[in-house]
Amino acid sequence: MFRRPNLYTSYEAETQVLPTFTKKIITVLAIVALFLMPFDFPIISGPTELPILRSIPLIGDGLPFFRFLGDASWLRYMSDAMIVVIAALGLNILTGMAGQVSLGHAFFLGVGAYTGAFLGGHATDSVYGHGLPMWIWLPGAGVGAALVGIIVSPVAVRLRGLYLAIVTLGLVFLGIHMGNTDWGRKFAGDPSLGRSFPEMDVRVWKEETPLVSISEKGSWFGVEMSSNQKEFLFVAAVMLVFIFFAVNIKRTRTGRALQAIRDRDIAAEVMGVAEFKYKLVAFATSSFFAGVAGALYASHIGKMPAAQFNLILSIEFIAILLIGGAGTVAGTIMGSFFVILLPQLVKDFSDWLSERAEGEGIVASVSELILSGNQGDFGPISTATQTPNYPLSIYDLNIVLYGVLIIVFLIFEPLGLYGIWVKVRNYWKRWPFSY
């Protein structure tokens, strides 16, 4: 059970998806925890309700970071984050694994969303829609985006690095522009209200009542669930499939070819890696992930305008890769949760602080240092609402944090959160002999 770390006796053993027993255990536990998350177990939803924790002064009245367990709005953010994981894994294949920097990932999400809406959405006077079931529109969204990815990929053979980034950046603007044309509006709906997207429901064909309803509240296996909980479970399942796919791809011939191209494309070609073919595969796979994620995201939101698939979203994905750790699946997953949940954590934290701003003790002093409720207070975060410049509103603070985090990670931890995790892991792996 306990083996020497990093000792593998065969190639198969080394390239297993879960090479060690500890990893297997952790993975199983993580999956179980994931599927239990939406439910309101007292021990999960209110760890701060436990008498033992209650007696600890700081934690006793509710640490901000524990609020998310079992909470309805946090469940939504978690679902958002899981969908983003799928899309980010796609970009990880393209940028992290094959080294092709793309700023156009939001475009592919958009293509997926509107392919999904075209296939599965309901037609009105102003938008197309064929009302097909989810088993068609969800993969269809991926395929649609993959086809567009294939069309774009020859550009990547011609261009490299910065130039490719600029070209893919152009895709985002092209997409938003197309969404605003009369033709594009047939897919995307009104530029500011958007269109309705298909619902996540399991149907055989176009029948009225779905076999399994995900987007309506109801009971599953005898447990009453809200649509929010059901969507969470469904999205979690889809995410696991894609994570498995993403982990596996790295172990295949394709995965090795992509990494060879990333490390030095000419050398790879000399060794017999067909550059054109593999860049095409990278674009297609990455776009497939993005397409499915885009359709899920749109369906999860329900209705949104085309301009949501904008440059900011693309940059968010780059941030996820850089913060999480480019080229690694675990890093991408960590990065996605980090980037999507960070704004909420910051908000919860400052709410929690501001509730305790009045009064005595450490928390109140920290609060005074960080928050400013009135004009002329010291803190950089404003809890008052009318603040055009300084102190920063929470919204502005989040934007600033983004930039700061990207810079900090690039300079101090290029491997991202994954790198930090590896360091921590390696320390404990050799404990007590870590030096």
């Binding site: 953010y77 009104d190 500011s192 209200l193 968010e316 908000k347 919204y395």
Partner: protein
């Protein structure tokens, strides 16, 4: 993932500067406070006119008295024995924070006043204010938190900031029997298909355009019109209204720029306008693009009368070199009376309550909007309490038959029956006068003026009156 609805931008610009340069012009005249303060469980400010409209104002029922036993009052979610939780999903830290936070503050002031007078149905009204940061996913997450079906939910929303945000919740609102008051004037909200549970207050962009065009055509004897707008729900709804009016009044459309404003360069539009030489120009855009197009056209010698939907104009433009041209050529159209523009009961209520409860606030017309939303919410809630049912469904039913009295702040409103019978057809038009404008004024009062002088209002032109509502003027997605 953030998106900015262009229709809001002007208000934001206005509010931002208002926040930045407003003086402390709060007069300390608490004597003006409504005499109703000592009459618990009464409609606010009803003291002067106790039997205003008895049918609509079932406020003074004994059952409402705080001391009385709460009769058989039905309630389900968001209500307990002593509180009623009312939700706001508002942009408090995003791009429209300065505008929306004033609207929210206006509502807080209103409910403070109501709670002081005994609340509703013997319960205190508690506002649950969550920040959506103008982000659709955040808006939806907040919604999840407030839709909860127990005491910790809310009974309805008195603020739901943002068109795409509100549109994204429409299906859930029907599922949960929740009402929401949005901050948008798109004519589609009156369409039961889109916004069955969305309480749209005041005239729509479409009706506003009809009135504006007709007022300009009558006042300046016009024969030709040019129409310029942004693309989308706001811009094209306004442009469609202008076209309907042009058709009804026999105006020739010499330039049709519906949805023409896109990107940063407005020169082609200016060229078209100058070539077309219209008598009047109707715009549906934001103050920045309006200023560009207006300034460019005037500089090239176009002598037309201009107006546009409310968010097109901001009095802050009077700080620019355009001031004289605006005085000569622009008429400001909007949905409500502006701060101090009339001497109605509602206006006195807003001004005195604000002065009494927020003497340090920088006053602005946004507080009037806050009061309008709160008055709507309050009167619907009172009607529901009167019918003995403040469940979510009960409130929905009360909304469908409620008749809201804005006490002179805006045309009264109802949502019962056919949209044609209830859509608001009156708007307000203000002459712009740069000579009376005081640069740091944020409202027109004794200390200064924003340069807006009431010209007509509530005004309903023949086109708007004859208009038959068969669905949104502009069908958006």
């Amino acid at each position: 993932m953030k998106k900015v609805t262009k229709g809001f931008a002007p208000l934001v610009a206005l509010a931002l500067v208002a926040a930045a340069c407003g003086g402390d012009d709060a007069a300390d005249e608490p004597a003006d406070a409504p005499a109703a303060a000592d009459e618990p469980a009464d409609e606010p400010a009803a003291a002067d006119e106790p039997a205003d409209e008895p049918a609509d104002e079932p406020a003074d029922e004994p059952a409402d008295a705080p001391a009385g036993e709460p009769a058989e009052l039905l309630f389900d979610y968001g209500v307990s024995d002593d509180t009623i939780r009312v939700g706001m999903n508002a942009d408090l830290s995003g791009p429209f924070a300065s505008l929306v936070s004033q609207i929210v503050e206006g509502q807080e002031v209103y409910w403070e006043m109501v709670n002081e007078m005994g609340g509703v149905a013997g319960r205190e009204v508690e506002l649950v204010i969550l920040d959506n940061a103008y982000d659709v996913p955040t808006h939806l997450a907040n919604y999840e938190e407030m839709r909860v079906e127990d005491e910790s939910g809310v009974v309805f929303f008195t603020e739901s900031t943002g068109s795409p945000h509100t549109a994204a919740t429409v299906d859930m609102l029907s599922e949960d029997n929740l009402l929401a008051i949005p901050l948008t004037w798109y004519s589609g909200w009156a369409d039961p298909d889109l916004g069955a549970n969305v309480v749209e207050i005041n005239a729509t962009y479409c009706i506003e355009s009809m009135n504006g065009v007709e007022y300009l055509a009558d006042t300046f004897d016009a024969e030709t019109i040019a129409i310029v707008s942004l693309a989308g729900e706001y811009g094209q709804d306004g442009a469609q209204g202008a076209k309907l009016a042009a058709e009804a009044l026999g105006l020739e459309i010499v330039y049709d720029g519906e949805g023409a404003i896109a990107g940063g360069d407005q020169t082609p539009i200016v060229t078209e306008l100058v070539a077309a030489q219209p008598d009047i120009v109707w715009m549906t855009t934001t103050p920045t693009t309006f200023a560009e197009i207006f300034g460019g056209s005037v500089a090239q010698g176009l002598q037309a009368q201009w107006s546009g939907n409310s968010p097109t104009y901001s009095y802050l433009l009077l700080n620019t070199a355009l001031a004289d041209a605006l005085s000569a050529y622009y008429t400001f159209s909007t949905y409500t009376a502006l701060w101090g523009a009339n001497d109605s009961e509602g206006m006195n209520l807003v001004i005195s309550e604000m002065q009494k409860r927020r003497p340090d606030a920088i006053f602005s017309d946004n507080y009037i909007r806050g009061f309008l939303e709160a008055m709507t919410a309050h009167q619907i809630l009172m009607a529901a309490a009167d019918a003995g049912d403040i469940t979510r469904a009960g409130i929905l039913a009360a909304f469908q038959s409620a008749e809201i009295d804005f006490k002179g702040l805006a045309p009264n409103q109802t949502w019962s029956g056919d949209p044609n019978d209830y859509i608001v057809r009156e708007t307000y038009l203000y002459d712009v006068d740069a000579s009376i404008f005081t640069p740091d004024a944020t409202v027109s009062d004794a200390d200064g003026s924003t340069g807006n002088v009431l010209a007509a209002g509530p005004y309903a032109g023949t086109a708007a009156q004859a208009f038959t509502y068969e669905g949104p003027c502009f069908v958006a997605g």
